[in-house]
Amino acid sequence: MPKETTAVIEQIAHQFENDPTRLMDVARAVHGRLGHLSELSIGLIAKNLGIHRAQVRDMVSFYAFFSRSPQGKNVIRICTAVVEKMKGVDALIEAFEKELGIFLGETTNDGKVTLEKASCIGLSDQAPSVLVNDIALTQLTPEDVPGIVAAIRSGGELDTLPQARVRKNIRQSGPILLGPYDSGAALRNAIRKTPEEIIAELYASRLRGCGGAGFPAASKWEKCRNSPGQSHYVICNADEGEPGTFKDRVILMENPELVFDGMIIAGFTIGAKEGLIYLRGEYDYLRGDLERSLANQRQLGLLGHHICGMEGFDFDIRIQAAAGAYICGEESALIESLEGKRGAPRDRPPFPVERGYKEQPTLVNNVETFVGVSRILENGGEWFSRFGTELSKGTKLLSISGDCRLPGVYEVEYGITVAKLLQQVGAEDAKAVQIGGPAGRCIGPKDYLRKIAFEDLPTGGSIIIFGPDRDLLEYMYQFGEFFAEESCGWCVPCRVGTTLLLKELREVLDGHATHSELAALKKLCGTIKTMSQCGLGQTAPNPILSTIEQFPELYEARLQKGDYYPRLDLQEAMKAGRACRIST
């Protein structure tokens, strides 16, 4: 066995030129071949890549998809995010547990199946869903489980199962993100311009980054172009991990060429030869099609050497598959991950546009932003700026899920009110709407006339709707679990604070708290927001803070009167002692 392991790892490391920055690929490949990453494997990987064992362990222990103990030949990952909870994932888990004879987190005795839970896998509009290895099975009911388990046990092809179907659910298509596109059109327009003219076009469009932060795209491109370096890099952030978002998946399924062209235009503009798509591990099933589309672009002369016949214009795109970590959606953590390290956010300055991937100027944009770029170069910046509001130009792709009749993706103009949106998706009776996922905010009916826009209610695209009968605060608790699970651990307030929030909120929800404890909880939220290094910690208290603001009566109903509520139930605690005395 050790001999065999040595040979496998040597061969895999060789395949990636023994390059330590490709540790993610090496670890994924070894994990795929051997089923887990043992200490033996970790040592051998370190040896083959010329790095320390501790560095390899540091990296592999960080990502959810890597297991360091033996796993089953097949891994079922059940998405247990909030929308999945709403759509009955608990019954589904029970069905899997019963059928397999194991609990969540365990492996069957025959070593065939491991059952695990996963954070949001980007299929909230077709929940509950699971990933079996890298195949997605969607809209499952407990009745589907025996057939699925039988197929897994028999070793048959899973992609022929009727549930192996990822729907696009495009409910409303608009002019920018989802409309028809003639591959290469934007690129051919772009290369007739100078890089400065392209940036001017972006300034005219007033396009803002679509990942959530809304930084003006033109300014980012200009800064990156003007930063000195040996080489420049273009990175497409396809790591949408915010619970309830799946719009980048739909873009990549529907119109990947719009994304590629945006990246190639970026390469042309900032002077980069290499582009990388950081694709979240949960979307591994998209990789085959994306690779085929890239190959097609190369054949059309839109990628590779002398693009569009232009001497010296070389650019190619590599897809980097990831391994499950929400924090890697943050651009500096994403870059760390691309370099084969744990996804810890970097402190800024320097910004990635100055010093990013491999210490070089790096442009990181979201999938949707690159689509915007292509449309701007296809139709003009002025055309683009006609859509949206004064401060939020263009359209936005929304991922709608939860309690509504028509979940799926909607391309809407910035400025749409929540009320109008709810009407469109069939959720007029919504009790609350989570705008921008757990990191965003939860609003109630009194705010439904507010607008989806950077200047009012910004969102990376996730919209989760809660119907009138939902126990809202329990879902906020689950958002809290998500943050505690995904905190990278770099800084104290986020690492410890996200776990403390759970403990303290639980006390409130269970009716073990008074007003003074609620006040202490708010204070804790304030410290986590102020003191955390990156957006994860800074937004982790939002589900609690926004519901305290919007739905104070829900908290009020659970609080005890007076200033103090004993956490220790004396009678209960003494029970054991009493029992002891009687028995002697």
């Binding site: 560095q55 970590a325 744990r342 402190d347 990278c488 690492r495 410890v496 403390l500 304030g526 102020t530």
Partner: protein
Amino acid sequence: MSENTVTITIDSKKIQAKVGQRIIQAADDAGIYIPRLCHQKDLPPRGHCRLCVVKVDGRPRSACTIPVEEGMAIENDTEELNAHRRMVLEMMFVEGNHFCPSCEASGNCELQAEGYRLGMITPTLPYIEVHREVDATHPDVFINRDLCILCGRCVRASALQDGKTVFAFEGRGIHKVITVNAEHGLGETTMDVADEAARVCPTGCLRTKRVGYSIPIGQRAYDHTPIGSEIECAKSS
């Protein structure tokens, strides 16, 4: 005013800082103490502990990592920030198991000293009670992870000053711990008791074996003056 200096204000006090300095260095040079735990002079800053967070033009930033810029208005010793710092300190206490009265590091411990300086009386937050392994496999040095605040000083000192990379992090979130560059324990690494890494721990986590109470209680680093006094005194004398 030379080209190589900038003027910043810290709590309304104007000071000169060298271009390229971090806020915390500039403050140190001016005799202004900003609380800290993960930062140490001779090591590159990381911003793990967040105790040094100050407000730069109203925005919270870690003073150990942010370079000075002309005209920065910095708030440091304010009740608002100190309250946040006390809460962050509390988090470190409840994350581990810091029992000062029986700890050999008491009096020399920077975590304890920051607690005294910032007026933390007792944790008001619930204990997390994580289970962490002790590593006593090395003949001269042991790791008591219950006292680890994940400041990463040993990680940096070992890599950059000792050229060894004996230490690294492992795991994520609340499960993050210090790990060593060996299959089983510190005893298998190239760690030597004379390494810089053995000296940088701010708490009692990484300690030398067979040395106890060589400095009596009452004569220890922070027994008479609070942590930070050395920086404040250096300027006033």
